[in-house]
Amino acid sequence: MQVDEPVRLPRLSRAAVCGGTHGNELSGVYLVREMLKPENRKEDGGPASLLMLLSNPRAVQQCTRYVDTDLNRCFTHATLNGPASEGAPYEIFRARELNNLLGPKGSRAAVDLICDLHNTTANMGLCFIAYSDCDWVCLHIFRHLQKQMPDTPMRFIHFDVSTKESYSLDSIGKHGFAMEIGPQPHGCIKSNIYTAMREGVQHMRDWVSCFNSGPFSCLVSLYSGFKTSKCFLSQDRDFCLLRPGEPLFQTFSGETVKYQGAEALYAFFINECAYYKKGIALSLARKRRVSVPSIRVQTDEEERASEQSFASEEEE
């Protein structure tokens, strides 16, 4: 990949930070509430408006993951644009509301960036979860956080799902990712986890400001990302390599069940409470390195030119 010329990308004019997509994942709930306080609203500098909101207020109020159905699976095109019905689950109604507010998904009116805040009971440290391994904005934000928070274990997880099939809240924005931090029991707030999330969000805001102010000298950066294959231990050993034949489960009578796969893979989301119902004890991933090009914000002229060519393409 040639690195001489930075990739030009449009200004990130509108961004959203969402908490409480799962109502019992409390770091995001408390962080958004805190950020919404009048004394904490501040200008970042640079033309970025920041929306902060609680995605699932009913679930937050009940301190439960969801009321009728998992909100974070409701953002497929099919669900968002399906027929409206009186008896629809609350979360489907809410997903459509959020799509009106932050989207519509896939359109030019969608917000530029969504950061969706989550917690996990798994020992995963801080993870970015995204559908794309070539969304340079998300990758640069990740790299920025890695540099600013060197003591926080940090990984980038690439869920290999096409945009057509993407189902989570962050897929509404032109750029988006989930910031997932664990371990934290659901319904609990741990100060070290909250602090990590607060700092992560602040560094993200700083980066967006800096990017929008252009020119921005980003260097080509290398990072390790994870592609996942869903499957079906080593308790707390998220992101350790699981080799064929190594212990995976222990039966109630004390026998060990070994990993039977052919390939050594990295385990994560180990023992996430909410995944019991989905039949997932852990997920497995391959580790890759990706080259990320330099990026810089488009000039006004470049932005106008690209808008004109966009309009003439009549994309869906």
Partner: protein
């Protein structure tokens, strides 16, 4: 107590208790505390592991609806529901689910306070707090229970098993196990709600094994000499700092998080506000906090409880 006599003041006397013939093991009193749910389900299918000669041991899921939904409770906390008022309430199906359940459990394993009640009930719980293995006592005067605690602690050593005593007139509550003559709470953490952790599961299993061994030995006629038991006695409940609207404005301080049973001295950091300021403990003496950051207690206005260390003396005991 309705069986035997005991005298804690005079350790020269051996307290006599009837043999403990009927024992119950409760799981799922809170439907999302998975160790107890899993153990009881396992033993209901295959009770070989918990069989003891001369003992009737009944594993039992106390709150099946909550277990099915994997929630703490459906209408109201079952482990607070065994008040006299609830147990004698009329209203049948109109009553909250857990009150109906409490009445049913009282019929099956009680009646509470009567001679027909079960001898011992073990009630299995998990906590998100870093409490390790904890046995919970409701009375400082039950020599049978104190001797059991002593036995379990020694058998489990060098691993730690601590004893929490909640005899506080205001903070004490009417538990499902209180139906029995000798109620024993077993609390193991840290474990998130709805999650099963193998180390937590195994620890609970081992402690129960020791408890049943004790009852077996007692029933066979073994005399247990006088002993002392170190306990942590509940003093007071500390809530999170809240604003005028009742919203929490601070979290358990990182220095206190996971430090159950360690001394909290006056002036030590206790809470941390969302913008990073420290709130210090203002009490007049050192206390030992526990149930630190239990998820289920946010709604009960409790960030942790304070305790003080005490040594209780138990008289010798022997089967009557």
């Amino acid at each position: 107590m309705s069986n035997g006599s005991s005298s804690n003041n005079n350790n020269n006397n051996t307290a006599r208790f009837d043999a403990a013939r009927r024992v119950a093991i409760f799981g799922g009193t809170h439907g999302n505390e998975m160790s107890g749910v899993t153990l009881v389900n396992l033993w209901m299918q295959n009770s070989a592991e918990i069989q003891r000669k001369g003992l009737e041991i009944k594993p039992f899921i106390t709150n099946p609806k909550a277990v099915e939904k994997c929630v703490r409770y459906v209408d109201t906390d079952l482990n607070r529901a065994f008040t006299q008022e609830n147990l004698s309430a009329t209203g049948g199906d109109e009553l909250p689910y857990e009150v109906q359940r409490a009445q049913e459990i009282n019929r099956m394993f009680g009646p509470k306070g009567s001679a027909e009640a079960y001898d011992v009930i073990f009630d299995l719980h998990n906590t998100t707090s870093n409490m390790g293995c904890t046995l919970i006592l409701e009375s400082s005067k039950d020599a049978f229970n104190l001797q059991m605690m002593n036995y379990i602690k020694k058998a489990f050593a060098p691993a730690s098993c601590l004893v929490l005593l909640n005899e506080h007139p205001l903070l004490k509550y009417s538990t499902s196990r209180s139906v029995a003559k000798h109620p024993v709470g077993m609390e193991v953490g840290p474990q998130p709600q709805g999650v099963l952790r193998s180390n937590i599961f195994e620890a609970m299993r081992v402690i129960l094994k020791h408890a049943l061994d004790f009852i077996s030995l007692f029933n066979e006629g073994m005399e247990f000499p006088p002993c002392t038991v170190e306990v942590f006695r509940v003093l007071e409940r500390m809530d999170y700092p809240r604003d005028a609207n009742g919203n929490i404005i601070a979290m358990v301080h990182p220095n206190l998080q996971d430090c159950d049973w360690e001394p909290l001295n006056p002036g030590d950091p206790m809470f941390q506000t969302f913008d990073g300021k420290t709130i210090h403990y203002q009490g007049s003496s050192t206390v030992y906090p526990t149930f630190i950051n239990e998820a289920a207690y946010y709604e009960k206005q409790q960030a942790f409880v304070t305790t003080r260390r005490e040594t209780l003396a138990a008289s010798a005991i022997r089967k009557a």
